[in-house]
Structures are given as C-alpha cells and as structure tokens.
C-alpha cells in the first residue's frame, strides 16, 4: 500500500490594471463607460468622505472611526458588481461601497457621533449595519445566504472582512458552513497588510490568505485589491457562481491601509513612513484615473467638476447630520424587547426623573 499524493492545490493571482495604469486587455471586464465613471465617482466619494470624517473627528464633531483611505477599490468595485438584490455584509472599512449602496453619509456620521439612530431607517434593505466584532459577520453572511437558497431567491451575499479576521474561529466556521451547504457567499478578504499593529506575515504563517479557502474546497483567488477592474471581475464571477448554485467563492484582495487603524491609533509606532509612502504610489484612484484618461473619457476639467460636485454632496450630508439633534434621550428603552414591559418602563420613568433632577441641580 504505497503512499501517494491524492490532492494538489494551487493559488493564482490576478491583476488587470497595474499601478501605472497599464491594462491587460484580455482580462479587462469591458465595463461600459457609464459604469466606469460611476465606479470612479464612487471611489472618489469614498475618499472624500473619509477625509471629511477625519476632519470632523479632529474637530471633536464625531468620535473615533476607522478610516478607509486606500481601500476604496475593494468595496466600491464590489458594490458595482452587485445587484440591489444581493446582500452587502460589511465590517467597518467599506465606506465607499456603503455609499454606493445608497447608504446616506449623514447616517454614517450619526453612528460615528455615538447615536444608534445611525443604524436605522435607510433605504437599502440588503445592506447590513456595521459589524465591529472581527469576523462575526462572516457567519451572518452564511446565514443570510442559507435563507436566500431556502427561499429560492436569485441573490448572493458579499461579505467583507480583514486579514486579521482570518485568525478568528468564526471565519473558519463560516467558510465551512457555506461550503457544506453550497451557499451563494462571496467572501471578500480586504488584506490591507495590518491588523492594528500586527503585520500580515505575523498574523498567519500561510503564504497567502486565499489558500485558507482551499481547506474548505472553496474556489479562491488572490487579486490586486487596488485594481478596481480585478475586484469587479472576480466579485461578478463569484456572484454568478452563487446564482448558479455552485456555492461560495473566496477573494483575497491585497490592498493597504494608508491611514491609522482608527483615529485612536498611532501607526508610527509599528510601521515606517517609507512603507506608507511607497503604498501611496499604489493608490487605487490614481491608476483608475489614468485608465479613464487613456480611454479618452476623462480630463482635468471633468476631474475638477467631479471634485466640486462631490464636495457639495458631502457638504450637504454634513449639514443634514449637524441639523439632526432631535434624538430622544430615552430611545434606548424603546427597543429592549419587541413589546413593552413593566420593569423596563419603570426604569424609563426612573431615567426621566434622574435626568430632570440632574438638570435642576446643575
């Protein structure tokens, strides 16, 4: 009884548009101009919104948040590849994609200003709220996908998480569950190189994150996550696979967190300025702009007009955010349970009495 090899695995890497804006024409998903322009706009909005948040945070007008600068291609190109029926299950670094899913920026600001109202009331029914607990949302995605399959709906679930998430148990449980039941989940790993201070190579000894999916027999690929065309192509293919009942897919999108983990973090403690400076040269927006120019559909004039329109849009959202001051103090008591209960209502009354006395006594 000889010992023989029974399985072989390999991982491939995909790049379509490189950092200099060179295109591999064979792999180009050949998006129509209006989609390309929508994608560029989405990434620019994400970048500008992030910058505005940093500003607001520094002025004390919102609290701590996790900047997304540098990672716009992943969530934006994925959002473009999704239909309204598909589910967007994010962590906390997908600002551009969330805005492309029509989440109002002002609500995002409300959340980051410490009010639960920021999670309520928006129109895009299939975009789940923030998930702060690392990797927890990967299991929710598997559950949502199970429900879609059960209901015979043509819908896929695109779930985002970081490189650090691949170390959590929930992540492995989600991959396994999705694979066992052949669920339409697209696992999008935003490998941005850093889990706070832990570099990717210390997070795992695996040579790629993509290979982790192989253990669960999930088709997998590593892509340049700053290449919006590669992201679009792979997410679209994975969604189609999901629609066709072929089960989950895994995409490791290599990108880079250009700013801090959150505004409470100081990255100079654990990485060099040189590394960050180099990473800026890989910025997903620069190469995409060059690509649009090469196609003859973009120029400086259009760029200026776009910047101006984005600025106005963001100004307007900030204005709405700042005008919303009508939050109920006792809102937390409204949603403890689906129905009202005497003991909670007694506590609500106690809460109001305490607040009143607090005001009277200064």
């Amino acid at each position: 009884m000889p010992q023989k090899e029974i399985l072989q695995f390999s991982v491939s890497r995909l790049e379509i548009l490189d950092a200099e804006g060179n295109l591999d024409a064979d792999l180009d998903p050949r998006l129509p101009d209006e989609k390309l322009l929508a994608l560029y706009r989405g990434m620019k909005v994400g970048r500008a919104a992030d910058a505005r948040m940093l500003n607001l945070q520094r002025q004390g007008r919102i609290g701590t948040f996790a900047p997304c600068t540098g990672q716009e291609a992943v969530s934006c190109a994925a959002a473009l590849a999704m239909s309204e029926n598909d589910w967007f299950v994010g962590a906390f670094r997908e600002l551009g994609g969330r805005l492309m899913r029509n989440e109002p920026f002002w609500q995002y600001l409300v959340y980051h200003n410490g009010f639960e109202e920021g999670n309520a009331g928006h129109e895009s029914g299939r975009t789940l709220p923030f998930s702060v607990i690392v990797a927890a949302q990967t299991l929710h995605a598997a559950g949502v996908a199970y429900a879609m399959k059960y209901k015979n709906e043509k819908a896929a679930v695109v779930v985002f998480f970081g490189d650090g998430a691949t170390s959590e148990g929930d992540f492995h449980e989600a991959l396994n569950f999705a694979s066992v039941y052949k669920l339409p989940v697209v696992f999008v790993c935003q490998n941005n190189g850093w889990a706070i201070s832990i570099p990717r190579e210390k997070q795992t000894n695996s040579r790629s994150l993509a290979q982790k999916a192989l253990a669960y027999d999930i088709p997998t690929v590593q892509i340049d996550g700053n290449d919006a065309l590669a992201v679009y192509r792979e997410v679209r293919r994975a969604i189609e696979r999901g629609y066709e009942g072929q089960g989950p897919s895994f995409i490791e999108a290599e990108t880079y967190r250009l700013l801090m983990h959150t505004t409470a973090d100081d990255p100079r403690k654990y990485r060099t300025d040189d590394e960050v400076e180099c990473a800026w040269k890989n910025c997903p927006l620069v190469r995409f702009k060059r690509y649009l120019e090469d196609r003859g559909i973009w120029n400086d004039e259009r760029e200026a007009a776009l910047d101006e329109s984005i600025k106005q849009e963001i100004d307007e959202q900030v204005r709405i955010f700042e005008s919303r001051r009508d939050f109920k103090n006792d809102a937390l008591f409204d949603n403890v349970y689906s129905t009202r209960h005497a003991i909670i209502e007694e506590q609500r009354a106690m809460f109001h009495e305490n607040l009143t006395l607090e005001r009277h006594n200064g």
């Binding site: 948040f65 410490g114 998430a165 170390s167 706070i196 795992t204 409470a264 973090d265 506590q347 106690m350």
Partner: protein, 326 residues
C-alpha cells in the same frame, strides 16, 4: 515611591512579576511593539522579548485557550483581551475549562491564568467598547473577578492575581486609566484577592462600590458629608468573586443604611448579590431599604448618550440622601 497613573501602575506590576518569575508570560493582540492599545504593556516587549510578550493572531478564544494550556504546563500566562466587549468570544474557554478544571480533576490540574481587559464607559469609545460585564464572569463558579479602582490598588491586585492559583478575570476601569495619579511604592506590594477595603469609616450609612464608580462615589460622599455633616462609611469591593461579605455585612450592621453603586445594568448585577447577602446577614440591623444606583437594563448606549445612563455624582448623592432620609 513614584506618582503613577493606573496604566503605569499596571505596567509596573507586570514588569516586577516577570522579573520575579520566569514562568510569567504575556499574550494578547498588539501588546508587543505597539505596547497595547492603551499602552499597558509599555516597554515590556523591549525588555523581555517575543517569547515572553507574545503578539498573538487576532483570536480571543485562542488567547484564553492557549493560556489554559500554558498554565497546565507550568507557565503563568497573563492574557490581554483588547476590550472587554471582545471577551465574549473567549467565554467558552473560560466557562468550560478555566473555571472548572480544579473541580473536575479534584485539584490534579489547575488553570492559574489572568485575563486582563479594559472595561466600562465614559471615554467616548466605539460600539462594544463600553460595557461592564463583571457579573457575567462572576457567575462562573471557580473564576475570580477583580476590579481595581486606583493606581496603587491596581498594581497590588494585579501582582496578587498573577500569583494566584486560580483563574482571575482582571477588569481594568479604562475611565480611570489616566484620570489621576497616586503614590505607588517601588517595592512589590500585594492586596489579597477576596478582600474588600474600607476606604473610609463612618457611622450613619455604608456606600459600596467598585472600579470606575469609586471616584464619583467618593465625590458624592464628600458632598453629603459637607452639606449634612453625615458620617459615611465607604467600601471598595476590589474582588467581585468571591465576595468579601464579612466586611460589608459588619459595616451595615454598624450603620444600618446602605447604598450600592454599580456602573453595569441593574438586572442581576453585583449589587443584587451584595443586597441579597446583606438581607441574609444584616437584615435586623437595617433602618432603611438598601438602595442601588445603577445603569438601566438597556444595551450600553453609544457614547452620544452614555453619560445620561451611567450613574453620575448627582444620582449617587441623591441615592445617599434618600437613604439617609428614609
């Protein structure tokens, strides 16, 4: 003697324990070059290296599960959970293994681990970063739960926790991390785990609290004393499991009145247990119903509203006054 804040005092405790005992190792997320997100492990990786200050992959269950294994094999691991909100991911290891290993093997195996975590609100933190879940851990038989309230007792309690032969959940009130400084002796100092501290003696009423609530409690007590000339005894529980009921039962037997101040929600908190023990031990000495000043039974609010929900100096003061007037 040096004046230290709580963060520095905790660092000092770990440093001295690591010097004393080579079996002490630290593990957690971002505790190495980054020195912990609150800098509690400042300088320790530089001093003790990768093998004793372990920057773990991002996995809370792994931090506690591997700590248990290290303890089985003779090490004294001190795990850090970055924020207590993430601690629920390791509860299976704590409940199913750390808490019961001594009992299920009649002492043949034990899990002397320390699990440190910052807890509590009032610092405008993100979602899941402001809860007070001490009662959750205190409910597991076999787990000790310790919460310091000042730099000096933080240092002495953490050193004692590291030397303790049982699993200790060591919860650090992050609101107090850098709030004030205190003289901390250079020489190692220990406070026995399982012992409450009478912070000040008094005759008319006993106030019981712990952790981040100690400062507003003391402020409220001082105001009531000044305004009404009342004599108030103050007890800092320090260890929440096992509770030092003797200290507070004796106190309330003496004063006949009691207020318990708790940052956590009201339902099934440590305050509930303290009041049950007082009912058993001091009922016939009571002059008034025991009051508790607590958060409410709602999810811990995001920071926009958190200060309306966490007990304030004013609320604590009113609780004391109402109990004195009953």
């Amino acid at each position: 003697m040096a004046k230290l804040n709580m963060v520095q005092a905790l660092t000092l405790a770990m440093d001295q324990e690591m010097e004393r005992d080579p079996a002490v190792v630290l593990l957690g997320e971002d505790i190495g070059p980054d020195e912990g997100v609150f800098r509690v492990t400042a300088g320790l990786w530089q001093k003790y290296g990768d093998e004793r200050v372990i920057d773990t992959p991002l996995a809370e269950s792994a931090i506690v599960g591997t700590s248990i294994g290290m303890a089985f094999a003779g090490l004294r691991p001190v795990g850090e959970i970055q924020f207590s909100g993430f601690s629920m991911l390791m509860v299976a290891q704590l409940e199913a293994y750390a808490s019961r290993t001594r009992s299920r093997t009649f002492g043949r195996w034990t899990a002397p681990i320390v699990i440190r975590m910052p807890y509590g609100g009032g610092v405008r933190a993100m979602e899941h970063h402001s809860e007070s879940r001490e009662a959750t851990f205190a409910h597991f038989p076999g787990v000790k739960v310790v919460i310091p309230s000042s730099p000096r007792n933080a240092r002495a309690l953490l050193a004692a926790a590291i030397r303790d032969d049982d699993p200790v959940v060591f919860m650090e009130p992050k609101r107090s991390y850098r709030a004030f400084k205190e003289e901390v002796p250079d020489e190692p100092e220990l406070i026995p785990i399982g012992r409450a501290q009478v912070v000040q003696e008094g005759a008319d009423l006993t106030v019981i609290s712990w952790g981040a609530m100690m400062r507003p409690t003391l402020e409220a007590v001082e105001m009531v004393q000044l305004e009404r000339g009342a004599s108030i005894e103050v007890i800092d529980l320090l260890t929440l499991a096992p509770l030092d009921h003797t200290t507070f039962v004796e106190s309330v037997k003496k004063t006949g009145r009691c207020v318990v101040v708790q940052e956590a929600p009201r339902n099934l908190g440590i305050a509930s247990e303290v009041i049950a023990l007082l009912n058993e031990g001091a009922f016939f000495h009571l002059e008034a119903p025991i009051r508790r000043v607590t958060n409410y039974d709602v999810i811990t609010p995001y920071f926009g509203r958190e200060l309306m929900y966490i007990p304030s100096v004013g609320r604590i003061k009113r609780g004391i006054e109402e109990t004195l007037d009953t």
